[in-house]
């Protein structure tokens, strides 16, 4: 019995240290679980002029897409990066149609797509585009800092990229896009 000979030291605060560490670790786990990190890579090209490009048409019904269209537009336009093989692009089609109906001019860039597939896609989900460029090597996508499909850029009347929407446009996103277009038009 050591207690009899030498009175045991009262445990100090250090005793709680492992439990505290464990609690801290748990807190970290739960933060990671409930507020997962944002893994989207947003373009660093917002506020910069659209780089020069000239894409051939991706559809027989619409002309191709060149930067000059945006520089001479005089009013903001949407640049929609899409593909016929992209499932969320089909999901956002009604929202693009609604935007087009409100008078928004939308140009498309079809990523790694075949003309026949684009035609099938437009036939099935509607064609809200004024022009559609064919980007077989993702060159325009890389040039504007887009990291996937679908993505939608608000480009003002002078050809400056003003806003980037990553992922499909949901019905609840439409007012935001309209607001960004209005801001870009001021």
């Amino acid at each position: 019995m050591s207690e009899a000979t030498a009175p045991a030291k009262r445990p100090g605060l250090a005793v709680w240290l492992p439990l505290g560490l464990f609690a801290g670790f748990l807190a970290l786990v739960f933060v990671g679980l409930y507020w997962p990190a944002d893994r989207e890579v947003s373009s660093a090209f917002i506020g910069k002029p659209l780089p020069a490009f000239d894409l051939p048409p991706a559809s027989d019904e619409r002309p191709g897409l060149a930067t000059t269209v945006f520089k001479q537009a005089g009013k903001p336009r949407l640049l929609n990066v899409f593909a016929s093989w992209c499932v969320p692009c089909a999901v956002e089609a009604p929202q693009l149609a609604a935007l087009a109906k409100q008078g928004v001019e939308i140009d498309g860039v079809a990523i790694r797509d075949r003309k026949e597939d684009v035609a099938r896609f437009l036939g099935q989900y509607g064609n809200p585009f004024a022009r559609i460029g064919k980007d077989d090597l993702s060159q325009v996508q890389l040039a504007i800092g887009s990291s996937g499909v679908p993505e939608t850029f608000v480009v003002d009347g002078k050809g400056i990229i003003r806003y980037q929407h990553i992922g499909d446009i949901r019905p609840e996103d439409v007012p935001l896009i309209m607001r960004k277009l209005a801001e870009a038009g001021q």
């Binding site: 990523i111 075949r114 996508q141």
Partner: protein, 138 residues
């Protein structure tokens, strides 16, 4: 039961897999090396330090995502045209931010990354100086 199994089998045989990938062949220089081994070595070194934006813990040298293939094509054609690898990295950082590069650059935000090892070394030297002195005396 057998009927159900057969029906399931038929279903999986007939139903086409959901096409969530494009049908185009890979970019010309996605999987083809440059003819000049020196240029290819430069391109390879750069591609190993660029992040694939689709599969974010892989480098574009490592990834089979079509977008990574297009990025490799871009890197190889630019190197073949005589562009400096660091200029290409800078071009991508301008568009995607620092995240696209696996090689950290010295910037106001990242300098502690480079300074910390030096600080720790200095601290270690400071803490150990007594030991060395005592060693000499003994």
């Amino acid at each position: 039961m057998r009927g159900l199994l057969l029906a399931l089998l038929a279903f999986f045989a007939i139903s086409a897999p959901l096409a969530a990938q494009d049908m185009l062949p890979p970019a010309p220089y996605a999987y083809k090396q440059l003819a000049d081994p020196k240029q290819e070595a430069k391109a390879q070194a750069l591609m190993e330090t660029l992040r694939c934006l689709k599969c974010q813990s892989q480098s574009i040298a490592d990834s089979d995502a079509p977008m990574a293939g297009d990025m490799r094509h871009q890197v190889r054609t630019r190197i073949a045209a005589g562009e400096d690898p660091e200029a290409i990295r800078q071009w991508l950082i301008e568009r995607y931010g620092d995240y696209v590069s696996y090689t950290p650059q010295v910037k106001p935000l990242t300098w502690p990354l480079f300074a910390a090892p030096l600080l720790f070394l200095a601290l270690a030297a400071f803490l150990l100086r007594g030991r060395f002195r005592r060693g000499k005396r003994a």
